[in-house]
């Protein structure tokens, strides 16, 4: 049952074939079975979940206020604030942090009657591509427990893939929804910047962060987008634009769709197996009536360095508040204010977070601002222009989501640059503020491959239509990791 989608379970719930309490208990059974091997969660909130499930069952019984998510168990990345429930960002500095408020998307999910299971693991403050930067533990990829689930939303992606939730929310600053979706063989959508409220999402890089769904199929992504999208008066960067019913985009038809295959992401640095799978996907879309052509976006090669100036600059600013004064960790080792700051931050932040704070502080320093930060903003504008040009010719663009399938745990931790390059295909999309989806399009050595589809700002409907059509004509999304059965009862790692 835990491997079913939200829309399948919705039918069962409303037909009263199962109750939300039964479903929630079933998912917790699965969590008990596999969590010690997957380690997708930081915090589980079983009691609160069952309470929410009972309330959902009441709604279903009365047939009132039903939404497609009423009674559906969902996992939340642990960088979204949940009132009186630990919100740690997988950082020691927030290990004990109980927010006094709910993020806007949490309020929306509660209003919809969704059942929150717990908070999922991530790279500390969403900085990383493997969850290995978590201050607590690394999450394992359900398809191969020796590999990473991707990151930073690795906990959410792994939870969806392993049946430890029905669907999940992640956040994406440079690929943190799409790359783990790709590694874990699930669907992940990064919405247009401004489509979903960021109020209550603990900021990493404010001009790039966006919350989005991780689900088992495209339909569930559309359903979750319907719930979480929309202007929020508490987020001045959220956009006043009507939210369409995204389920109306679930149309099995790509005839006459003009699709651009990004040639810059089909060359050096991309695994052969990946390229093969993407080419095959392109051919398949063509066979379904789409017009596929290659397109080059020459500024792409500057995207990663641009990102690693802008994102750390904003992060160095956003993370200044963790100082031991108001909440979170405060070092016991101090003699005065300054030493309290030093020790608190030294003990509280992990190495990758410190690296980015230093990078960002440097990029914003007097004398370097123009050469680094300002220059990066200019390149960012050029990358946007490249996309604008491409979208004059194409409805959507496609590429691999990641240059490889899931890599081995520990393989890249010693080499931050090679880790950074695993986001080469996803980063340009954040810099331009565009929507993009990743969905399964093949396997290599038993590990999933992700197809990325990129659209113009607020063209989520087109993405969903192309993704849905591809999904309806392929079987990749129906494969489940065998580990859940094969490893049942076996010793833990």
């Amino acid at each position: 049952m835990q491997n079913k989608t939200a829309h399948e379970l919705h039918s069962l719930l409303t037909a009263k074939k199962i109750s939300s309490v039964e479903l929630t208990e079933k998912v917790f059974e699965q969590i008990e079975k596999v969590e010690n091997r997957v380690r997708a969660y930081v915090t589980l909130t079983k009691e609160k979940a069952l309470k929410a499930a009972r309330a959902a069952d009441e709604r279903i019984k009365n047939g009132q206020d039903l939404t497609p998510l009423t009674g559906i168990p969902i996992a939340i990345k642990d960088n979204m604030c949940t009132r009186e429930t630990l919100t740690t960002c997988s950082s020691k500095i927030l290990a004990n942090y109980l927010p006094p408020y709910d993020a806007t998307i949490i309020e929306k999910l509660q209003a919809a009657g969704a059942v929150m299971l717990g908070k999922t693991n991530l790279d500390e403050f969403a900085m990383g591509s493997s969850t290995e930067n978590s201050g607590f533990h690394t999450t394992h990829n359900p398809w191969n427990l020796e590999t990473v689930p991707g990151g930073s939303s690795g906990g959410s992606a792994a939870a969806v893939a392993s049946g430890e939730c029905i669907l999940a929310l992640g956040s994406d600053t440079g690929g943190s929804i799409r790359q783990p979706a790709s590694f874990c063989g699930v669907v992940g959508l990064k919405p247009t910047y401004g489509r979903v409220s960021r109020y209550g999402l603990v900021a990493f890089a404010s001009s790039l962060d966006q919350i989005g769904p991780l689900t088992k199929d495209v339909t569930d992504t559309a359903i979750l987008m319907n719930i979480i999208s929309g202007r929020d008066p508490l987020d001045s960067t959220s956009v006043e634009k009507a939210v369409p019913d995204y389920r109306k985009s679930l149309v099995n038809d790509v005839k006459k769709f003009r699709i651009g295959l990004i040639s810059d992401l089909m060359g050096k640095g991309i695994d052969e197996e990946i390229k093969k799978a993407i080419k095959a996907a392109a051919r398949q879309l063509e066979s379904l009536g789409a017009i596929v052509e290659e397109v080059s976006l020459p500024t792409f090669e500057y995207a990663v360095p641009t990102y690693y100036l802008i994102a750390p600059a904003e992060a160095s600013s956003n993370l200044a508040r963790y100082d031991g004064v108001k909440y979170g960790h405060r070092s016991k080792e101090f003699t005065d204010l300054l030493s309290m700051y030093y020790h608190t931050r030294q003990e509280g932040f992990g190495p990758e977070v410190k690296r980015r704070i230093m990078l960002g502080t440097y990029a914003l320093s007097a004398g370097y601002y123009d050469a680094y930060y300002l220059k990066a903003l200019k390149v960012r504008a050029l990358i946007k222009e490249d996309f604008d040009k491409a979208f004059k010719r194409f409805d959507v663009l496609i590429s691999p989501t990641a240059p490889s399938v899931a890599f081995k745990i520990g393989e890249k931790t010693a080499d931050p640059l090679s880790m950074y390059l695993s986001d080469i295909a996803t980063i340009p999309v954040n810099l331009a503020g565009l929507p993009a989806i990743s969905l399964p399009c093949g396997f290599s050595n038993g590990l999933p491959i992700g197809l990325q589809i990129i659209g113009e700002a607020f063209a989520e409907e087109k993405l969903l239509q192309v993704a849905y059509t591809y999904e309806q004509n392929t079987e990749w999304h129906k494969r489940k990791p065998s580990f859940a059965k094969a490893t049942e009862g076996k010793p833990t790692l």
């Binding site: 001045s236 004064v325 204010l337």
Partner: protein, 480 residues
Amino acid sequence: MNYETIIGLEIHAQLLTESKMFCSCSTKFGARPNTNICPICTGQPGVLPVINKKAVELAIKSALALNCRIEKSSVFARKHYFYPDLPKNLQISQYELPLATKGYLDIVVDGQKKRIGITRVHLEEDAGKLVHKGAARIMGAGESLVDYNRTGIPLMEIVSEPDLRSPAEAKVFMEALQHLLQFIGVCDAKMEEGSLRCDANISIRPEGAQKFGVKTEIKNMNSFRAVLRALEAEEKRHNEAKKSGEEIIQETRFFDDTTDTTIGMRSKEFAHDYRYFPEPDLPPVEPDNRWIEEIRNTIGELPEKKQERFKADYQLNPADAEFLTSSPALAVFFESCVKLYAQPKIVANWIMGDLTAYLNANNLSLEKIDLTPAGLIDLFKEIDKGTISGKIAKTILMEMLKSGKTVHDIIKEQGLTQISDEGELVKIVEDVIQNNPKQVAEFRAGKDSVIMFLVGQVMKASKGRAKPDAVQKLLRSRLQ
């Protein structure tokens, strides 16, 4: 060689909004510590700021009153420094693109009008308040407590050009600015309470030189007097250093008002690289012309213009005109009175005299009393009719202010009508002559000034209801 002093000011004014700059918390002063706070102004993880439109409106209003150009697009920026009164360890301010630029304020120095340039006006958020235990500052304190009630209160920063040439000019400028901000109703502007604050940059240079000397920045001036004393002390320090060949270094100095001296702060403590960058959570401020004009229409006539008009229209002397335009309420009250009673000088004297004395003595403002212009004019009319004397009128006014009763009611109740019955007055005069034989004799012997004593006695006996000139006339005729 003679040196001239160059001063520029950086003023912070708390804006009179109901809620804070970036959240909906109350700005009310004097609440219990940490009660006017929320996740946003305490910098919880995940919160976002939202611009307070009223704060933008009040800042634009101020900028227009300061003759500034309102920028088509201004941008909030983050200013970084670590301090426990700053929950995010960054202050949302404006940097490269402020709200308004290139204005001026005219001040009067030694009777001469002088134009002081305004470089810029921008918006930012205030910090919290720290209380230290065991030391005056956080370094060395055994314990420090922070109150975030003030955190996020809208602040307007006004930066002047280095156009001021003496500490006295700086003080006059601050007073004029205070008056303006209070007049247009954007700020309480009380330096002692911290709703108006000021830092100063000061340097000296040889007279006629173009190049500026090394400047120092003076902080902690919490009154107009402090502005004057601090800058005088610092001006003196600069000049003495010049004489002795000592070097002035560019630094921030703290004014100690117990010794009237400035003290250098360890430069390390203040050597900041603020790492400004545009606030990614906020859109630019782009006020359209219609809104700007709407705001302009709320300003009305500014004090300086009003003063000129009062002098011309009502033939008031400069001091009276200045006084009567010192607040919008006062000016309106005066003009309403004059409309009903076309004797501006008389109206002015009463308002500036008895009425103001009463307000000051009871710590009241015009808005808080029941007296209307029509009520005051009724009093004047009774004097003109001869019903009451000027002296009685003063007593009646006090009674009107205290009780809120009309002049007619008070006259009726207390029988204060002037004596118009000749017989009654003659009787009192005769009694006084009879009871004061010594003074009567002196008068008859040629000491004319004694008449005033006798008039006084009659006034006393009549409880002030007699007309003094009539009394004197009657006395003289009886004593001849």
